[in-house]
Each structure stands twice: as C-alpha cells, then as structure tokens.
Symmetry: C2
Subunit: 135 residues, 2 copies
DNA sequence: ATAGATGCAAACGATTTGCAGTCTG
DNA sequence: CAGACTGCAAATCGTTTGCATCTAT
C-alpha cells in the first residue's frame, strides 16, 4: 500500500518525472515507452520501478489507464474533466467528447437496476471526415 | 487466411461447438475458458485451434471481442440485438441493458464531428443491490 | 498426392515477483 | 538501525508460432 504519506526524495522525483513525460504527451503511453523516454531524458530509473509507479498512480486515480488493442496497459495524465473518446479507425485521430446525455443515462440505468457506484467507459470508433474523403 | 469458403468437416464442427458455448453464456469468455468448456463437453480440440478459431471468427465479425481489465481477450456471441452490459464489480453478475438514449447520443456526436460509420461500446461497472447489502 | 487444418511444444512479449543491495528518516 | 525503495534476473501468464502430422479431396 502507498497509503502512508511517507515518500522518499527519490520516489517523489520519479513521480514528478513520470508526470512530466505524461504531460508532454497527448496520447496514452505504456510503461515501456515511459521508461524509454525517461532514459532518454537521463533519468536513472529501472523498468520495474516504472511499472510499480504506474500501478500506484493508477490506483490513486492520478492517471487514467486503459489497454490498447494488443493488450498493453497504457496511461495518460488524468484530465480534470470527465470525457470520452471518439477515435478514427483509419488514422487513429482522437477527439474528446463530453456527454451529459451519457452521464444521465448511466445514472438512470444504475438506479433502475439498483446498482450503486457505477462507473462507465464509452469508446466511439468511426471514420473521420478526412479519411472518409480519402476513400 | 480463411478467405476461401472451403472448410473441413472438423472445422465446421468446431465452429458450431464454439458457437454453442458462446450462446450458452451471457458473458464474455476467453479462449482458455472456451477451450475448457469444450473439453468438459467432450469435444476433442486443442487450445491452439480455439485461439485460431476465435481470431478468425472475430475477424469475420461473427463474434464481438474485447479485453478484460487484466488484458485477456474475451469474446461473446454477436447478439442480434444491440445492447450493453452492466456488471457488478463484486460478484460479476451481468445485466444486459438497452439504450436508445445512447444510440441517439452516439449518432449525434458522430454527425457533429463529421465521423461516419461510428461504432460504440459502453461498459458499466457498479455494485449490485445484493453485494451492496452484504457490506 | 496436395493443400489446408490441427496440436504439441517452444517462443514471445508484457508484466510481476523474489530477493539482495541501497537509501531515507 | 529499521523499514521503505530499487532494480536485476527469474518467473508468470495469455497468446502466438514452428513444425511434423493428420484429413479430406
């Protein structure tokens, strides 16, 4: 558990560096890529430590985690606003969309079935205007 | 490639059996579980073949594929009716829900961003009444 | 005989864990 | 000094692939 606030200087530094890497990227990054990037930035850190840090950060809710189609775990800096993604299946362009309608629907369905603390994940996949035109 | 329609008796049998297993389950199943279930039903088939069959079926769009939180690939019979799942995070109970609201929202978002042929997947995760009471 | 299908075992790649050495308070 | 942190190497685990064999045509 990382419940206790006692964190070493080194760990704090690591977290800050990881945060910087994530913030510098608009896309989701896997532990391996984060590690490679840190190494490129001359941050001495082991791959294992990156994995462990990412687990902790995800558990704390400091980063968002998902999986790619190939099954690797990827993370992104936790954006303050709750939103969903509309991705182009051809060029992988991502548009962030917000959905008050979805949020309400989710709540309604949850109540309807007596479920509590319901989270939802929505992924939209389509063909963007550019790629559609390029057909 | 499974592009040619030439399929052996055995392969046809395998597909039928896999289809039966999927149809008998309302939830997503991984290749390993499908294999175990087939074995339990005395269907002689190797794990490798199940993996290969699932890949082919998914590619053809005969089954829906996703990944669990732990990264395993899971499949479900492509249901004729489009619906979503509300799963209990404690007991894993699954409730199928339909959502005209979602379907409309999806279409609206797609049009709004000029995206075409938009698919959507929605997963709801919460605590069911029973598990909430057992707290 | 020939092309595809099958399955065992080995290979893989991402992630996790055992454990000994290091750092921090 | 005691406990937390680190990282190497080895272990896992789901999945894929090499290859020899079997099947149906």
């Amino acid at each position: 558990m990382t419940t206790d606030g006692a964190r070493s200087r080194r760990q704090i530094r690591h977290r800050a560096e990881i945060g910087a890497v994530l913030r510098d990227s608009s896309e989701f990054l896997g532990a391996q890529r984060i590690h490679a990037e840190l190494r490129r930035r001359d941050v001495p850190i082991g791959l294992t430590t990156v994995y462990r840090a990412m687990q902790a950060l995800a558990e704390e809710g400091a980063v968002d985690a998902t999986r790619t189609a190939t099954g690797e775990q990827v993370y992104r800096y936790c954006s303050p606003r709750h939103h969903h993604h509309l991705m182009c299946r051809d060029c992988a362009r991502v548009v962030e969309v917000e959905g008050p309608a979805i949020e309400q629907w989710t709540t309604a369905i949850a109540r309807q079935h007596g479920f509590a603390q319901v989270n939802h994940s929505v992924e939209l996949l389509g063909t963007c205007p550019d790629c559609a035109a390029a057909r």
